[in-house]
Symmetry: C2
Subunit: 220 residues, 2 copies
DNA sequence: GATAAATATCAGGCTAAAATAAATAAAACA
DNA sequence: TGTTTTATTTATTTTAGCCTGATATTTATC
């Protein structure tokens, strides 16, 4: 059984290695997890001794198969709990992350599977992120962002890149919710800001905002 | 914010002091929590310094008002999660304790209150134990046990004293469920065993079993 | 290819929560 | 009441997970 801290490292390594698909360095982890690099090295040795990661001194780490499976199971729990909080307990999508950070460490496979079934085997969490199934299989999701669209193209808003509460609150305020159709009406060459249309209204958004929205392109 | 370990001590002190209504000794706690007495002493000093308990050297401890409130909030969480597991996720009453032991440490008042409301403000957990409300008020429950009944008296089975999985499994096997009406048909003076009747069948039970069942007497 | 800068590791130390072992206080009893 | 037994506390050690500061390795730069 893994400690809380070990689980957090595994999850962090998963996120970092999935983002840019290469070995994760000590300093990346140190930054992400907000511990000193020396502490990270200590933990990496421990995880390597448990065969959860493949660790080469000075060369960074990569999750082993077991490590990856472990990470996926933690992510599965996190995201299922988020769905529970939003769908059953009426939390907003910007409130659930912290609570799910705690719930993801509860140990009971049966609990997770029952929860999954209680929620009707949801495919995605409230932020549009895919939920691994009980075999650790996870849908790879379309990486198109709103900022990638051409003028006059449109698509469905399916997920966020940045799921910080402040960003989610901003989206709520503007009425931008998962599943809405957004179309690009203007592109400002100067600062890459966009004028978008949805629900019959227009909104000007910054390049950063556009980069933080995942879009599923409408078939043409 | 309290550590996991601190919370477990607080809860243990609550249970012990409520059981026989007097100060809890180091050795009682040591036995209950399965730590060495010396470790218990260390923790008691710490809890006293946080004003959660009133600690007198060699005289045992008692929870302060804050301590008691803290205990009640942990118990509230534990019991609400048990209800959730049984009612919503179809767990059996003998499977939920361990999982609830973990869930009771999740920190979020909002979560607990939402859960309470989602479950329709249940009064008791699956073992018949009362659930404190959000103000820390808890119903004191009737302490009549099946072993206290006279010959030919009957009552409703409302709770268990011993909620170990093995006892609960035994009750399930015999079809003895919360809410059933049980009546005493014979009392064996020799070993205090009883012949009871419920659901139109008869069962012989030991004195120990009878002591472990809380009964609400039928009005006469 | 040598050297500076950036990264990573090692050695040693701190704290929380446990353990052991030794010392002391309280309770039991002769 | 004095002595023995039991309970409790104090002192010291261990382990996990973090830290700081010193050293080693890699990468970048001239």
């Amino acid at each position: 059984m893994l400690s809380l801290s070990e689980e957090n490292y595994i999850k962090a390594i998963y996120h970092l290695q999935t983002k840019d698909n290469k070995r994760v360095s000590t300093s990346q982890l140190s930054e992400y997890i907000r511990n000193k690099a020396s502490s990270v090295t200590d933990m990496l040795k421990k995880l390597a001794s448990k065969s959860l990661i493949e660790y080469k001194k000075y060369q960074g780490v990569r999750l082993s198969n077991t490590g990856e499976r472990t990470a996926l199971m933690i992510i599965r729990k996190h995201r299922l709990w988020e769905v529970f909080l939003v769908e059953k307990l009426d939390f907003n999508w910007d409130e659930v992350h912290e609570i799910a950070e705690q719930l993801e460490h509860i140990q009971s496979e049966k609990l997770v599977d029952r929860l999954d079934s209680f929620l009707n085997f949801p495919k995605r969490d409230p932020h549009g992120d895919p939920i691994p199934n009980k075999h650790g299989e996870i849908e790879v999701h379309n990486k198109t962002r709103l900022s990638d669209l051409q003028l006059n193209e449109s698509g469905i808003f399916v997920g966020v890149v940045d799921s910080s509460a402040s960003f989610l609150v901003y989206l709520d305020k503007q009425g931008i919710a998962l599943g809405k159709s957004l179309s690009v009406k203007e592109k400002e060459a100067y600062d890459n800001s966009l004028l978008i249309e949805y629900d019959n209204k227009h909104l000007r958004i910054t390049a950063l905002t556009a980069q933080n929205l995942y879009i599923k392109l409408n078939e043409r």
